[in-house]
Amino acid sequence: MQALGLDVLFKGSNLLRLLGGLWKALEISLIAVALSLILGVLFGILMTFRNPAIRALSRIYLEIVRIMPQMVLLFLVFFGTTRVFGWDLNAEAASIIVFAFWGTAEMGDLVRGAVISVPKHQYESAFALGMTKSQTYFTIIIPQAVRQLVPLSINLITRMIKTTSLVMMIGVVEVLKVSQQIIEANRMTSPNAAFGIYLTVFVLYFIACWPFSILAKHLERKWSN
């Protein structure tokens, strides 16, 4: 225990503070994930349209998200909106906006890929049966696309959870920041604490992300029948 620096974990309310930090990270990422899933599906379908204006706009959006590091987006939304518009967003809201902005674009791209990978004859058969465009999408194409989407979107979700460590830059105290605080506060008395604390953080991230993998496996198995 001493050698790993795990004793530090049980000092005062350190463990509770770490869990509180994990909750903060999950709160931000899960709200953003929920928004991204909904908006991403809509955005993905939009991207399959052939209208050149829509294509150009979604291209620009996607490229902005790809090129801009999330950190720049965070500064942009948290500080930039105050500078330009005078809005006083709180740090959590700014984080959720940025992560949803990022997640929607990536999710949209995944949805687009999944939708266009549905064979053309599926559309043609649906139209031949007299189904309307929206009927075709919602009852034929999307259900098939969603199955392909599951593993890819789980990957995105876990990435979003892990990337929340960036929000410490705008003053949100999440799990990684708490761990740094604990390590620093004890650097005189337990110089080894870094190992034990980071190990704990690793376990916490694992616990947070694992249920999504299980869910994905479960869904894949269910749909394969």
């Binding site: 720049v72 500064f75 942009l76 930039g80 500078r83 005078g86 003053g171 506060a185």
Partner: protein
């Protein structure tokens, strides 16, 4: 190093803000700068920002002050095991809060975002071991100083380096990349061979393995190192330009700045910062460095 990346990020950021602002049209903004594409990011900032800060009276009537502090820089600003903010900066912050008669919300800031927090008025005061520099003083207003900071050089007891002139031609000095020590030695002593390391831990290992004659860093860092590790002495406790640490407020927030200044002067009469040192820094630095580090009443000796 760190700063230059930050400046780049800021520039990209400001450019992006401008881009978005121009997409959004003149929503809510007086035009005038919108077509001056040649203006620098800084100019654009000052022209688009209205008054971002809260005056002393506004803070008092809101009943709460927001103070940006470090939350992981023991012993200056950190969080203890009960989740309470502690340290030299925080001790002072708590006194300010008490004398102002308001509640406090501590905001955990990073070195790279301190200026930005003030420029957008997201915090009222920054008390995060903020070294006064000319560059920063263009963007924020510094109050009177409350601590000294300079460079220091630590070396093994077997051969204590008391002056940089003692170094022989083949002696090397350890520095950490991106620190003021690196900049200072490169500029002022180009003949000294430097061994550069990215992290504190690597620099420490190199010194302990005897790979260099000495290690130069912020004096607070090397003093703490020598006190924790037997067999090492800080031969040069002060080197280079003496800088100070001071509270900072948003540019132009005169009422708050004046109040903090008068507070620092008044606290000098009761030797407040010596008490602060004894409460928060003695554990790390012992009492030998009290006079060197503490600035009382805003007056640098």
């Amino acid at each position: 190093m760190k700063k230059s990346i930050f400046v780049k990020v800021l520039t990209i950021l400001s450019a992006a803000v401008l881009l978005i602002a121009s997409f959004a049209g003149c929503a809510g903004n007086e035009s005038g700068t919108s077509n001056s594409t040649a203006s620098t990011a800084d100019k654009a900032d000052s022209s688009t920002a209205d008054v971002v800060y809260r005056t002393l009276d506004e803070i008092k009537s809101s009943g709460k002050i927001k103070i940006g502090v470090f939350s992981d820089k023991n012993p200056f600003g950190y969080v203890d095991e009960n989740g309470e903010y502690q340290g030299y900066d925080v001790y002072f912050a708590n006194r300010l809060v008490k004398d102002l008669g308001v509640d406090v919300e501590f905001v955990s800031t990073e070195a790279a975002s301190r200026v930005e927090f003030l420029e957008t008025g997201k915090v009222d005061v920054v008390l995060a071991n903020f070294t006064v520099t000319d560059e920063r003083a263009e963007k924020v207003d510094f109050a009177l100083p409350y601590m000294n900071v300079a460079l220091g050089v630590v070396s093994p007891d077997s051969r204590v380096i008391k002056s940089l002139d003692e170094l022989k031609a083949d002696d090397e000095v350890i520095v950490i990349t991106g620190t003021t020590a690196e900049t200072y030695l490169t500029e002022k002593y180009p003949n000294i061979k430097l061994q550069k390391y990215d992290t504190y831990a690597n620099a420490k290992t190199a010194l302990e393995n005897g790979q260099a004659a000495a290690w130069a860093n912020d004096n607070t860092e090397v003093i703490a190192y020598a006190l924790q590790n037997k067999g090492y002495t800080v031969g040069i406790p002060e080197l280079g330009s003496k800088d100070t640490i001071a509270p900072a407020v948003s540019k132009g927030n005169k009422t708050l700045l004046d109040w903090i200044n008068s507070e620092i002067e008044a606290l000098g009469k009761e030797n407040f910062f010596h008490a602060d040192y004894e409460a928060t820094l003695t554990g790390t630095y012992g009492s030998d460095y009290e006079e060197k580090l503490v600035v009382e009443g805003g007056k640098v000796n």
